[in-house]
Amino acid sequence: MLYVKLTLRNLQRSMKEYAIFMLTMVISMMLMYSFMAVAFSEQVLQLSKHMDAFAQVILVVSMGLVIVIGWLISYIANFMLRKRSREFGMYLLMGMTRKQVCRMFLLEQFCMGLFAYGIGCILGLFTFQILLAIIQHIFGIAYQFAFRFSIPAAGVTFLAFLILYAYELVKEYRILHHVNIHTLLYQDQQNETVKKGRLHTLMYMLGAILCAAVGLKLFYDGMRNGIRDVEETKKLLPAVLLIIASIYACFLGLSGFLQHFLDQHKQLKYQHNRMFLLGRLQGRLRSNRIVLATLSLLTLVTICFLCFGMKFKETTDLTIHSAAPFDLQVITQHQQYIKKAAGFLAEKKLTYEDHTYQTYTHLRDDVKVKQTFAKALDHTAYDSTYYRTTTFMRYADVQRLLQLKGKKVPALEKDEYMLVVSKKQQELMESYCRKHPFTINGKLMKLRYVCTEEILQTMYFVVVPDVYVQGVKGDTFYYVAQSAKELPSAWEDQLYERCSNSQLQEYSSVRLHSSYVETSMFSYVTIVFCLFYAAFIFICAAGTILATQQLSDLEAQKYEYALLHKMGASRKTLYRLLHYQNLLYFLLPLLLPAFFMIPILNSLDIMFTTTDATTPMYMYLGITLALFFTIYLAYYALTYISCRRNLDI
């Protein structure tokens, strides 16, 4: 009974002392449950045929996040063990067996986790509704409230919880079982060994700068050249490792660097109570270098995830229009499938308009053509063999296609041509065309009009008067149709079967706008949701660890501030110092991400060069940082309020 009583009392006390950690665990369990519930929800699975893949992706991401949450639990459990080492030492000293002490501590930890799981699942019922509403809105479906407890979601979340705690409990059991009583009793009096000397600090800081410079350069080169040559992407892994090494090296040397800097600039140090503030900060830096470096890395990853997610949204929105410009589009090398596609639609008795056309890689054999359009793309992301060939189209075909989209285009004279180009490349192509001649039979062709309407899945093509392609054998056959009503996405597979013959190895590309939208929305939901899910967990984990570290030495903090008060610092000064102390500590892990953010985002942006997205990724930093700081500063505020309450001056 004594042990049960002790365990319950310890549990009550731990839940109060580590309230911020409990909050994060509840949030983690809540998010895990709600994402699992989304993945297993019938309403979500019905939205698209791809949504079962969504469930698998969520599962994989959740298992990945289990590692991060597991690290957080491990950190806090170790922390508790260190802080309460004297208490456990006393239990053993008074005669409790190690088994009894282990059982008490592990039961306490398990109950804390179970509590978080229970509350998390209950709150998850509500966050699931929010996620469901968002997903249904993305797919253009009216939200329907359906309060249902998802047993599979609760089961998978419980499994994750068991994995998290099983490993941790075994680890703590082994520690408690083998540590000696003396170590437990005097652990809190141990201090870290201070490595002094400029050489050490210089090595770390120079190493950090070198790794950062080389890493960022490699990363940029890998991304930029990787678009043209896949082999170049091999640079990305060493680049990432160098950036990580740079972060850790920086934090290993930062405390020493700060000390040396302040010793050289004593005037800076002695002013405005900075010495006390920076002394506390340095103490924290020395004790928690590795953890702070890890949090810094997590923060950088979080910011990249959030910006990437927002850029992906922009790309998805724009790509839908360019990738599926018509309700139906069939592309094939074999003309007979065009008739079959047209026949399929005719059977459905729909109201629609259609058109069949071809594209050409050259004009009539009897005309002398001089053009260098492909050179416009030299030294750009499109500088590859795929874009070396210029595509030509007949004016009549383009006129009809634009008519289907409700647009008009001016007529072309015999010595005029039109350029159809993506909005992103309009300036580049138009300025090139105006400077470099396009001649037919020695006569200069005038650029009559530049159109940015999405018609063909190519970056640009040249529209010439019909006469120049008369009798020319086209390369590819196209069939497009615009319907009064949206065509069901299920027809895509049927059309594909009708327009292909696997025995003869003849295949057509069939693209239904509705199906493409569904697939895009699925990709968007999967990628963006997972990125935001992971980012949220990372921010909460970082905030929890920082808060716990600050709150962990409340007694020592109380004593130091009391001493300062006795020496004549007013209450106002002390509260201000406390605020700066906490703020600086919370800002420490953001130091390096602030430096790495923009070069890394610029490099990642290269991935989107060949898409229609024009907004640079770093432009999303504003919203990203707003989201990030909303959660991060909530943790800071909770920490400051707790510290201030404890000061008791």
Partner: protein, 254 residues
């Protein structure tokens, strides 16, 4: 010149029927440059007396004057300024900030006073040399011995030349040799720098360095001893004689 005047000071703890009188009508004065000790058994009120003089605690009654300024009626901001400028503290243990080096701990009062930053290092070095701790200036408190830590605390208490240095059981956590070294240093500061020192202690050896000792018993002044012309060892004996009575009355000695 009178530095400190304590007039009819009282301190109560608790309320209603559970009242505890820690200080009961204490009155005394202390002159400039005097080295005074306050002795008594545990619970006699000596630390409480030190705390009210230091303005860390407020007296329930009476007045305390430091250099003719009544400190018992000052507001919080004024008290903070008073402590910063006029007082220096040495405690038994947990004196120093572990996050600052020894030199930074010593410099702390000067930074609180916004002292001229160009002169801080020089002052710190001079003080450290006088206390024999210049070799450990760049170390952290947990890297040095207890005696060195206390001498650092002494340096910190004196660096801004306060009117009054308050020491609460300064040798409580030190071994005999370290206590001896520390008390020798404290005495030197009193004789050479004319520092006014009010020390609370239960240790007769430490108290024998003072010129005057107040004995407290149950919150009241029980006795007072002046060293006068006595040697330290004789004074030490006299202290022991008085201390015998602190725990009980003459008839209790068999």
């Amino acid at each position: 010149m009178t530095l400190l005047r304590v007039e009819h000071v009282e301190k109560y703890y608790g309320n209603g029927g559970n009242l505890c009188k820690a200080l009961d009508d204490i009155s005394f004065t202390m002159e400039q440059g005097e080295f005074m000790a306050v002795m008594g058994a545990s619970g006699s009120g000596k630390t409480t007396l030190l705390n009210v003089i230091a303005t860390i605690d407020t007296p329930s009654g009476g007045d305390i004057y430091v250099q003719d300024e009544n400190v018992s009626t000052k507001k919080e901001e004024a008290l903070a300024a008073f402590r910063k400028q006029q007082l220096g503290f040495i405690f038994q243990d947990l004196n120093l900030l572990n996050t600052l080096r020894i030199d930074e701990n010593i410099a702390l009062p000067l930074t609180l006073l916004h002292y001229d930053t160009k002169q801080i290092d020089e002052k710190v070095l001079k003080m450290a040399q006088r206390l024999g701790i210049e070799d450990v200036l760049l170390k952290y408190p947990y890297e040095v011995s207890g005696g060195q830590r206390q001498r650092c605390a002494c340096a910190r208490a004196m660096i801004h030349q306060p009117s009054l240095i308050l020491a609460d059981e300064p040798t409580g956590a030190l071994d005999s040799h370290a206590s001896y070294l520390f008390m020798e240093q404290l005495l030197q500061r009193n004789t050479e720098d004319h520092a006014s020192i009010l020390m609370v202690t239960h240790d007769a050896f430490s108290a024998s360095y003072a010129k005057r000792i107040l004995f407290l018993k149950d919150g009241k002044i029980f006795n007072e001893l002046y060293r006068g012309e006595y040697s330290r060892s004789s004074f030490y004996q006299k202290i022991l004689d008085v201390m015998m009575l602190l725990g009980g009355d003459v008839h209790a000695i068999r």
